[in-house]
Homo-oligomer: 218 residues x 2
């Protein structure tokens, strides 16, 4: 029958797509983001043109991969963020979740922050990449928006809350990201300490701290 046939093909194509993504995942996690399409195709036991039939171009494949991992990470974060606990607890839990994730699978993390390049001049279609303009990983943007939404839903900071929430969302995510990236490279302290330090920063300890003796101008 026509419908079942088309449905079968649909699911079959979907399964295939998923298999290909799994293979691509293995290769990217093993070889880093420079994995060639040939390598990925070989890992999947097929050849290049099939990948192109399924994903259009390399950017498409990488975007699909990124969406998978991003969704997974965002789900964990949302859980930590929405837990029924006090605010400081929730903040620390979220930080810890993120840091634990990047600590457990740094390869995934590194990949997510570099999905594609492509930043050609606007209006110039010579670059085959996809997201002209934005360069930093979409993961950061998505996390920022997510956090902004939670802040806006749960916090009351008077007028302009919405705007403030978005600024804070992206700012906090960036803080988490940069500190995590640095920490992952140098490992200067255990994770809990990093979490506590960052939470302290958000809790205003920077403003409260005293000037050091002999400081100029104060």
């Amino acid at each position: 029958m026509n419908t079942t046939q088309r449905a079968d093909q649909q699911t079959s194509a979907d399964r295939r797509r998923r298999e290909l993504l799994e293979a691509a995942d293995r290769v990217v996690l093993r070889d880093g983001p420079h994995a060639s399409m040939n390598a990925i195709a070989a890992e999947a036991g097929i050849t290049k043109p099939i990948l192109y039939r399924h994903f259009g171009d390399k950017g498409g494949l990488y975007a699909a991969l990124a969406v998978r991992h991003t969704d997974a990470l965002l789900a964990s974060l949302r859980a930590a963020l929405d837990a029924p606990a006090e605010r400081r607890q929730r903040v620390e839990a979220t930080l810890d979740t993120y840091l634990a994730a990047i600590e457990a699978r740094p390869q995934v993390y590194r990949f997510l922050m570099h999905p594609a390049e492509s930043a050609g001049a606007p209006g110039d279609p010579s670059e085959p990449g996809f997201d002209v303009g934005r360069h930093s990983a979409p993961l950061l943007r998505r996390m920022g928006e997510e956090l902004a939404q939670v802040i806006e839903e749960r916090l009351d900071v008077g007028p302009g809350t919405q705007q403030l929430a978005r600024v804070w969302g992206h700012g906090i995510v960036g803080m988490m990201h940069a500190a995590g990236d640095w920490w992952l490279g140098e490992r200067p302290c255990p994770r809990e300490e990093l979490v506590r330090s960052l939470a302290d920063l958000l809790w205003g300890r920077l403003a409260e701290a005293g000037d050091k003796a002999g400081g100029p101008g104060f």
Copy 2:
């Protein structure tokens, strides 16, 4: 004489190098970080091998370019950071300096955050890039360390100040970066407002804010 001759050659080579960097700068600023070595060479009025004689490989050229701009930006930031004013003033001035810089020359900014890819497996020399492992821009690291040093010099937060200063340095820089990146893309508000919002965040308004009515668990 030998010394003056060698000195002449030195300065001549340096001048050449600087000219090439200027040309590269123009191209990168015009075409984005994907500028090909051929394009850069053409802009400089010469051919590829000369670029390679001067900079080794593309990573070397890009690194040299990045150092130039990074140094310039860091100098402005250090000025704002070391100004003789109250802490909040200094923080706002620093944020504003950074945001003004990326607003004035977004192309430079975008380039600085993407100097090169290259993240091959450790110990594998197959990748010709340079900084294996680190992926995010060195600019962020340098700003983080810079800020950490200033914090450590001027702030007194009891024992563990040094560690805390580094965490905060990288964290604050990351906050600034991510918020700036998002703001640059969407322009949701004037710059001063962004500056104020971020400073407020650092000043603990997140912790002080009240819960919204009907929030779960609290």
